[in-house]
């Protein structure tokens, strides 16, 4: 069981900034995210694109914003459960909550902050009738550990950056790599496209275009796939793994069944006060919540996270006094023993 003060579901910008604000109040945080990396939409959808409306940054890349948020909250030593989706929540007699992921990891905390954005990022699955039977039996939609494919035969489908980049990476790891795409044109960074061309020329990537995977065969595990080239008869290709990389799309998913009030695919909160949901102790902040006038912007998520932490403090430390301190004046004491503080003014006589 992982225990913490504030359990944050979603490691997007809102969740990451919560760690910092909570840390100022001496509250510890743990984050769960379905993605293998933190950053939410900023790291999954547009890491290399600029954002122009982060206060004080005339321009910052979404990926850099993620790095800076991680850097800012590092001293408060957040815990991470990545690559797992929060599935169920159970209220305990002592008022705390236990959240369990799809992999069975359990987390307990007195306060839960849902910072789930547009929802948990789920793979877009190609329409093949028996594909779900082969999930984790040769079909994987996300590559977590490339070593898993060492000396295996791999078929990748897709035409974007992840299909290109993983084909390049696995060319050195797997026994064979076949890349199948509906068109001969790929959509990615120029160097990735050129590298695949190079590896194809030297026979390290088997490129089949324009083509589609039209069936998966196997008894228990994947044994082969059927490839259909445009205007040609289908053929069978033996393989140990089939990895469709058609991107991820966010789905509110299991959180929708937690008994929270949902409106417009988002969680209703009390914005006059502290962004608490209809279940006391569960808050919703950032893109995942809704209230009159809601705007899904990063800066709004930061504000909501800050107010939510104050309410969490009152739940965790009932009756205890608190007074707002400026970071400039009181400095920042990390849980890792570090201290940041403003340099003291010199007091020195002038003759």
């Amino acid at each position: 069981m992982i225990t913490t003060d504030i359990l944050i579901i979603g490691a997007g910008p809102t969740g990451l900034f919560t760690v910092f604000e909570a840390g100022l109040l001496k509250l510890k945080c743990h984050l769960i995210d379905a993605l293998p990396q933190p950053g939410g939409q900023c790291s999954e959808i547009y890491p290399k694109k600029p954002i122009y409306d982060i206060p004080a940054y005339p321009e910052i890349l979404a990926g850099d914003l993620t790095h800076k948020l991680l850097e800012q909250c590092k001293q408060f030593e957040p815990g991470f459960t990545l690559g797992e989706r929060a599935e169920t929540i159970e209220k305990q007699d002592d008022g705390s909550f236990i959240v369990t992921t799809n992999k069975g990891t359990k987390h307990q905390a007195p306060v839960v902050a849902i910072a789930g954005g547009l929802g948990s990022f789920e793979p877009r699955k190609p329409i093949l009738e028996n594909i779900t039977n082969f999930e984790d039996k040769g079909v994987e939609y996300i590559i977590k550990d490339p070593e898993f494919y060492r000396d295996k035969k791999v078929v990748i489908a897709g035409g974007g950056d992840s299909a290109l980049d993983w084909s390049i990476f696995l060319a050195d790891v797997a026994a064979s790599v076949t890349l199948v795409h509906r068109r001969s044109e790929f959509r990615g960074h120029l160097d990735s496209v050129e590298k695949v061309q190079e590896l194809k020329n030297v026979g390290k990537i088997n490129l089949i275009t324009p083509a589609e995977i039209t069936a998966i065969n196997g008894v228990e595990n994947v044994e082969s796939v059927e490839v259909t080239k445009k205007d040609e008869a289908p053929f069978i290709l033996e393989t140990d793994h089939f990895i469709p990389l058609f991107g991820l799309s966010p789905k509110l998913g299991p959180i929708g069944d937690w008994g929270l009030e949902i409106e417009k695919n988002a969680i209703k909160v009390d914005n006059a006060l502290d962004y608490q949901t209809n279940i006391p102790g569960i808050f919703a902040i950032g893109d995942v919540n809704t209230y009159p006038g809601k705007l899904k912007l990063i800066l709004c998520g930061f504000h909501e996270a800050t107010l939510m932490c104050q309410a969490a403090y009152k739940i965790i430390n009932p009756g205890k006094r608190y007074v707002l301190k400026y970071t400039t004046v009181s400095g920042v004491d990390g849980f890792d023993g570090t201290r940041k503080e403003a340099p003291k003014a010199v007091v020195k006589a002038i003759d």
Partner: protein
Amino acid sequence: MEQDINITITDRDGVKHQVLAPTDMAMNLMEVVRSYELAPEGTIGVCGGMAMCASCQCYVLSETTLPDMQDDEEAMLSEAFNVKDNSRLGCQIQMTLEMEGLEVELAPES
């Protein structure tokens, strides 16, 4: 208003909606759908309109002349599901006066 055009959008439940789309607000078809809330939040416009998610895919039902597809739209559609010959990405269709009478149907969510 003079700058508005009439378009017909069939939502994912098959319901037809006649809506007025402004042509002077730099809006694309995906944004028109969102402004009228014809698809649930979070199921359309996921990539913000960068031709990177295909959540705004629609089928063009009228003979309206539309701007040609750019490379990125074509590439994204070739990776999307449920694609037909008349598929377009709504976010790549900027509303103009010439599109008066446009009829589209939203593709299923994927």
